[in-house]
């Protein structure tokens, strides 16, 4: 039915199958829509957030998707600035993933603030000292860049590309992509860093604070590094998932391997710095505040397992797998390692947000628990639904993988 819209020379599932495939994701979107309506209409009392858990599930999701979306700017950077031509085979997918992640994050942020209609005060009455202002400016600008990067891909649609003006416009835009990639890289570097800075600057929250060692707060760099390490992994995961679902090879191995290799080195570097950071924190920040390392891991579900998982299981382990060429060339190991890396980064963001707030600072204060409501899950799940939907549609209707035709010649 929608065949005129499909890219030429590739095979896609039937419209009906595609429609059925979208149903669960539409369901998630509907759940999210209802949740969003309730949160906007009745206020944030619809959530289980509290004065203790001022940031909660949504911010974890925000930070996680932004970190995972880092594949977009970093792949762009490698492709257009460094000139790794083989990555042109994944750049489109990376850009769309980035767009999904960033637009999803901004939409969630819009609901997360108590006064969404006044949200623009961040820009109008900006407090330049606030890391969150830096984040807001950068992600908003970067989302625009991503949108611009997305446009030529959309215009590559079979029907749209028939319109001459659009075609010319898309082509010209494409030519200037290096400029946007550079801008995006610049913006992204800053906000990924600022997101880390957001927590590192909380000098009255010893769990998150990172200072006393030349650069303050050094989480700035850790966040950049972890994002660019995990971003490509997420891109790999998404392409691999698409390949598995469509039962087709879409991206040449050299592109994937290059991403994996770069990720391996970055992840290793990140782990070295993360371990140094943890040690620096344990022997610097923590005792200065009169606390011991273990004091932070005794409350409720938050035990030392968090550190073990974050650093060893989801950090060092995937780094080793990705470093070993044999291992990363094996699809199973590659996917497992990428998955672990992504989980590590999500865990890292979770720890920085939730554990920071959950651990009481006043010695006589107590620990409080928090579980998200269905409305909170609804919004979070809607982002996932939106991601699947947009990515599936992009794969179906847009020339996402330039090598698809070449790798899967249509026999009929």
């Amino acid at each position: 039915m929608d065949s005129p819209l499909l890219p030429e020379g590739v095979k896609r599932c039937s419209t009906k199958a595609f429609f059925l495939w979208t149903l669960p994701w539409l369901g998630l979107l509907a759940w999210g829509g209802l949740s969003a309506f309730l949160c906007l209409w009745k206020g944030l009392n619809q959530t289980n957030m509290s004065n203790i858990f001022a940031f909660a599930l949504w911010i974890v999701f925000d930070l996680a998707v932004i970190a995972l979306g880092a594949g977009a700017f970093f792949t762009g950077f490698l492709t257009y600035i460094i000139g790794k031509k083989e990555l042109k085979n994944v750049i489109n997918a990376a850009v769309i993933i980035g767009f999904i992640c960033y637009s999803g994050a901004i939409a969630m942020l819009g609901i997360d603030i108590g006064q969404p209609i006044r949200g623009w005060f961040i820009f109008w009455h900006a407090n330049i000292h606030s890391m969150l202002v830096e984040v807001s400016f950068c992600i908003t600008c970067y989302l625009m860049v991503l949108a611009i990067e997305f446009v030529p891909i959309i215009l590559g649609n079979r029907q749209l590309s028939k319109i001459r003006e659009l075609n010319i416009f898309g082509h010209n835009l494409h030519e200037t992509m290096a400029v946007f990639a550079a801008t995006g890289t610049f913006l992204s570097f800053f906000h990924q860093g600022s997101l880390g800075g957001m927590f590192g600057v909380l000098y009255a929250r010893p769990f998150a604070a990172r200072d006393g060692f030349f650069i303050w707060p050094w989480t700035f760099f850790l966040f950049i590094l972890s994002a660019i390490a995990a971003g490509p992994c997420f891109t790999i995961l998404c392409t691999k998932l698409t390949e598995k679902l469509s039962r087709k090879k879409l991206v040449p191995d050299n592109a994937i391997q290059l991403l994996a290799k770069i990720s391996a080195f970055l992840l290793s570097l990140y782990m070295v710095l993360k371990i140094a950071d943890t040690l620096g924190w344990i022997y610097g920040v923590v005792p200065r505040a009169g606390l011991k390392f273990i004091d932070f891991y005794q409350e409720g579900p938050y035990g030392v397992w968090l550190v073990v998982c974050e650093i060893i299981i989801f950090g060092i382990a995937p780094a080793i797998i990705l470093l070993v060429p044999k291992a990363r060339q094996h699809d199973g190991w590659l996917i497992a390692a990428c998955l672990m890396t992504c989980m590590g980064i999500v865990l890292n963001r979770f720890v920085f947000i939730v554990v920071t707030l959950a651990i009481p600072v006043m010695p006589f204060d107590r620990f409080w628990g928090y579980l998200p409501t269905w409305q909170e899950w609804g919004i979070a799940m809607a982002v996932i639904g939106y991601g699947f939907l947009l990515f599936s549609a992009a794969y179906r209707y847009l020339p996402l993988f330039p090598k698809e035709r070449e790798l899967n010649p249509v026999t009929e």
Partner: protein, 243 residues
């Protein structure tokens, strides 16, 4: 990626373009229309001009409500020495006769009925012949009912403003913020923003926000501007005016 030049073969089937074409009768796609032909300009202006009219004229009219005051008040008459009006060495002093400070330093704003009846205390004896004066005596003085004046200059609830700090300590003139209100014989229609509830006098009579006189607008920036100009930056601290 595909070369755009190659793939741009003409097609009249499918796509939103043909859909749009269908909407427009007699459309001939093959006619080349230069981007800025005369008709192009006309259509551009046909969009632009109504938009400008809507934005500059209709919108401001729709945005502000119009409410008449419950009765008229003649400032000029009350300040006229020939008819025994309020006297004073300065204009400010004259204003303060009715718009006075209480002992605790707070400001009464629009005077209460009791202030009026200090002079106009006899409900039986008419003040003059106008309808307002008759109304005043019958509707308000006789029933001891407060006159529901609409205040042109009331700041929103979130704003704290100390008149005594400005008028007595800062020696400012009333007209700096209130203009020549004391020279009016008739009270102007009260106009309030239907979205915000703010009086037009607070948020600026000029929709573009352009200010001709100091009293044309009483927004935060106007307060801050004056504080800065007079070297009172310390009074730009948030809590000085916010509550």
């Amino acid at each position: 990626m595909k070369n755009p030049a190659n793939s741009s073969e003409k097609s009249s089937k499918g796509g939103w373009m043909s859909f749009l074409k269908g909407l427009i009768p007699g459309n001939n796609d093959s006619t080349f229309v230069p981007p800025f032909s005369l008709s192009g300009w006309i259509f551009l202006l046909a969009g632009l001009i109504p938009a400008l009219i809507v934005g500059w004229l209709i919108y401001p009219m729709a945005l502000y409500s119009k409410q008449p005051q419950p009765m008229n008040f003649n400032h000029v008459l009350h300040l006229d020495p020939d008819v025994g009006g309020i006297e004073g060495d300065t204009e400010t002093e004259q204003c303060l006769y009715c718009h006075e400070f209480r002992d605790d330093g707070s400001f009464v704003g629009i005077p209460r009925l009791a202030k009026c009846t200090e002079c106009h205390d006899d409900p039986e004896s008419p003040l003059g012949e106008t309808l307002e004066e008759k109304d005043f005596l019958e509707k308000y003085v006789a029933d001891e009912k407060e006159i529901p004046w609409l205040s042109y200059y009331r700041q929103p609830d979130c704003v704290y403003f100390s008149h005594i700090a400005h008028v007595r300590m800062g020696e400012m003139e009333c007209r700096t913020c209130h203009g020549d209100h004391h020279k009016t014989e008739n009270l102007p229609t009260y106009r309030a923003n239907i979205l915000t509830g703010y009086s037009i006098n607070i948020w600026g009579k000029n929709i573009a926000g352009y200010k001709f006189n100091t009293w044309d607008r009483m927004k935060m920036d106007d307060c801050a501007e004056c504080h800065t100009k007079k070297g009172h930056e310390e009074n730009n601290a948030c809590f000085v005016c916010h509550k």
